[in-house]
């Protein structure tokens, strides 16, 4: 765990950490003094001074800050400079894995194993685990959809959950009034999500960055408020209950069977999303999205219709939210506006940013981490959200680009094609 990269001798560097950590812990002690030390009893009118608590705060902050500083320093020094024996072994094993994956037999085996895991999961994990995983998969679809807008198109959209709500409500209401079944509701939900996304896209075409964020945020809130207050249509805050679960005609499923069934619907939907998003990404439209994100002025100067490209990203993104919304409504059998707060939008945004903008495996990992971690942290009860926050901050500090960062695709040009191209060019003046 030693580092030879920095010129400063180690003991002195650790001493420097200690000094700063001490400052941090003293500052923290002062900051938390009123709530940690003083306890006022308003009934008896007495104050209890709990001085021992300060010891815990100072000690804990000191150790935490020291460790933080240590890892931050290592990160700054770069991976190569801090190759301890553990790191070296890790890097070596990573290289072996990377090499193995390239072998077709291993890759096929890996896919088969993953497939087996995915199929076996609901039967091994039980209903509780399957339910959690289904929620996580919903967020995977939402994350991948939002990724089209943010990760590829570079538009900071904070109102994404509104389309999810619209998808859910379109199934719930169409079913309530016209008895539309789940399977027909899927394309309808996607259409509604996509169209509404386009509809709010048109007025905000000129907006970028923070301004777009504010407008989309407002849109999400408006959607929620309309759902809450338009009682004659949406049943207001009371919500809609008894929404039918997905079913196959003529077969009666028990509750655990339905849970498994929904899980597999979500698996298929995730597979479809990955397929479509991947194809979009590696196409003309995907290139336009990324170019627009990188530099919209150069992009339009190169002949790309920015307005059309923006709308395409919004429409394609909104569709997935609508689709996921239908599944959500069918799964919970009850929806009300409280399920679609801005907080949900923020979570989806986090899955994209945390996972790695524009990267499909990144967004999937991000969604799984963000949904599963708080679930499994339930054991820590009231510290759950505190730990969750700490995990987020740590990840963003140490991997600001996301868990799995996007790599641009490399194109191969055959030697023969190179020669043809080379004849056009003049070898006399090479860059």
């Amino acid at each position: 765990m030693s580092s030879q990269a920095t010129t400063q001798p180690q003991p002195r560097r650790y001493l420097a950490y200690a000094r700063r950590s001490l400052l941090v812990s003293i500052w923290f002690a002062i900051l938390t003094f009123p709530i940690i030390v003083i306890r006022a009893n308003t009934i008896t009118g007495t104050i209890t001074w709990r001085w021992h608590n300060i010891g815990w705060i100072v000690g804990g902050t000191f150790v935490g800050s020291w460790i933080w500083r240590y890892f931050l320093e290592r990160k700054r020094a770069g991976a190569a400079a801090t190759m301890g024996p553990l790191r070296q072994r890790l890097a070596a094993s990573r290289a072996i894995v990377a090499q193995a994956v390239r072998r077709p037999a291993v890759a096929r085996g890996g896919i088969a194993a993953l497939l087996l895991l995915v199929v076996a999961f609901p039967f091994v994990g039980g209903m509780y685990q399957t339910n959690i995983m289904t929620t996580a998969l919903l967020y995977v679809v939402l994350g991948l959809g939002l990724n089209i807008i943010i990760g590829l198109g570079g538009m900071l959209h904070i109102g994404y959950i509104a389309f999810y709500a619209l998808g859910a409500y379109s199934y719930a209401l169409l079913n309530f009034h016209f008895g539309l079944n789940f399977w027909l509701a899927l394309p309808v939900g996607a259409l509604v999500g996509g169209l509404f996304s386009l509809a709010i896209g048109i007025p905000v075409l000129r907006l970028r960055g923070d301004y777009l964020a504010i407008v989309t945020l407002a849109f999400a809130e408006i959607t929620r408020l309309v759902l809450e207050n338009w009682s004659s249509l949406t049943f207001g805050t009371a919500g809609i209950r008894n929404i039918p679960r997905p079913a196959i005609a003529g077969i009666r499923l028990t509750l655990p069977q339905t849970t498994t069934f929904v899980y597999f619907i979500m698996i298929l939907m995730v597979a479809l999303t990955i397929f479509v998003v991947n194809r979009l990404e590696n196409s003309r439209i995907g290139r336009q999205f990324v170019a627009m994100k990188e530099d919209f002025i150069a992009c339009q100067a190169m002949g790309v219709n920015i307005a059309r490209t923006k709308l395409a990203a919004l429409g394609l993104g909104g569709m997935w939210a609508g689709l996921a919304g239908v599944v959500f409504a069918a799964r919970t059998t009850f929806i009300n506006p409280a399920s679609f707060t801005v907080w949900e939008s923020i979570i989806v945004l986090c899955t994209v940013v945390l996972g790695g903008m524009g990267s499909i495996p990144g967004v999937i990992t991000g969604a799984l981490v963000l949904i599963l971690v708080p679930e499994y942290l339930r054991a820590f009860a009231q510290f759950r959200m505190l730990l969750f926050g700490a995990v987020l901050v740590t990840m963003m500090v140490f991997r600001p680009g996301g868990l799995i960062q996007k790599r641009r695709r490399a194109y191969t040009i055959s030697a023969q094609e190179k020669q043809v191209a080379g004849e056009i060019g003049d070898p006399g003046i090479q860059g």
């Binding site: 003309r284 992009c299 219709n305 641009r408 094609e417 190179k418 043809v420 003046i429 860059g431």
Partner: protein, 260 residues
């Protein structure tokens, strides 16, 4: 005449950045627009390419062999599709994309694949994508940076980034190429290579070239006609020799006190 600008005026609030400028570029010509900093050259460029909507005046272009067509107030991507392509003074590449992808974006306005094609990947889309890669690679070879095709654009050396901007502009199949300070920040050797490249582009691709430049040696050796701007107004037009001797140009560049 491939470019005909009449009475172009651009106001920013109370400031008149470009004041009734008339400018023409003939087929196959290399024309330069020079002037001190802040003279309104780049603003003029932005008006011609549709980045700004001019306050007054008209811009007309004509692809050789076709009828003239007014492009004033047209949106930038449509102007590019008409056959006008530009580079930027402060390089504006898609820096996180690869070099090849940058050029592929340049090809974009000549493509027809849609969203459905991208998902279904029908034969036509696949063929088009393949052709784009090849065409774009050919563009890179033409400006001499083919070996960096799969590098991330931001990692290229400075001179190569300038070349990549030119390749990207060429990919749009222009008949008129507008270069905004193409030699800015280049060393003498790079500038010489650039002059050769621009000349070759003109002859090989039947391009007309309109450039803004600060590097006087480049302007004087390369351009056939020079327009000089100062404070938004055109103060001189002529071949390099004439412009160099023009007293008003000398005054604009060197100040009041120096006489010719």
């Amino acid at each position: 005449m491939v470019l005909d600008v009449r009475g172009l005026t651009m106001d920013f609030g109370g400031l008149r950045a470009v004041d009734h400028v008339d400018l023409q570029v003939n087929e196959g010509e290399i024309v330069a627009l020079i002037g001190p900093n802040g003279a309104g050259k780049t603003t003029f460029f932005n008006c011609v390419t549709g980045m700004y909507v001019p306050t007054a005046g008209t811009v007309t272009i004509a692809r050789p062999g076709t009828d003239a067509r007014q492009i004033t107030r047209m949106r930038p991507h449509l102007i590019t599709a008409q056959g006008l392509a530009r580079t930027f003074q402060n390089i504006r590449l898609f820096s996180e994309m690869t070099v090849l992808e940058n050029v592929m974006i340049g090809r974009d306005c000549r493509l027809s694949a849609g969203i459905l094609g991208a998902i279904v990947r029908n034969r036509k889309t696949v063929a088009e994508e393949k052709q784009v890669v090849l065409d774009s690679y050919a563009m890179l070879e033409m400006v001499g940076i083919g070996r960096w095709a799969n590098e991330t654009a931001k990692n290229l050396p400075y001179g190569a980034q300038r070349r990549l901007e030119i390749a990207r502009a060429l990919a749009t199949e222009p008949f008129l190429l507008l270069l905004d300070e193409p030699a800015a920040g280049m060393n003498p050797q790079e500038t010489r290579d650039l002059v050769a490249l621009i000349r070759r582009l003109r002859t090989d691709h039947h391009l007309s070239i309109f450039l803004i430049e600060h590097d006087m040696s480049l302007v004087m050796t390369l351009s056939e006609r020079i327009y000089v701007m100062d404070y938004g107004k055109l103060i001189a037009v002529g071949d390099p020799g004439e412009v160099r001797r023009d007293p008003s140009v000398i005054k604009a560049y060197l100040g009041e006190d120096v006489s010719a």
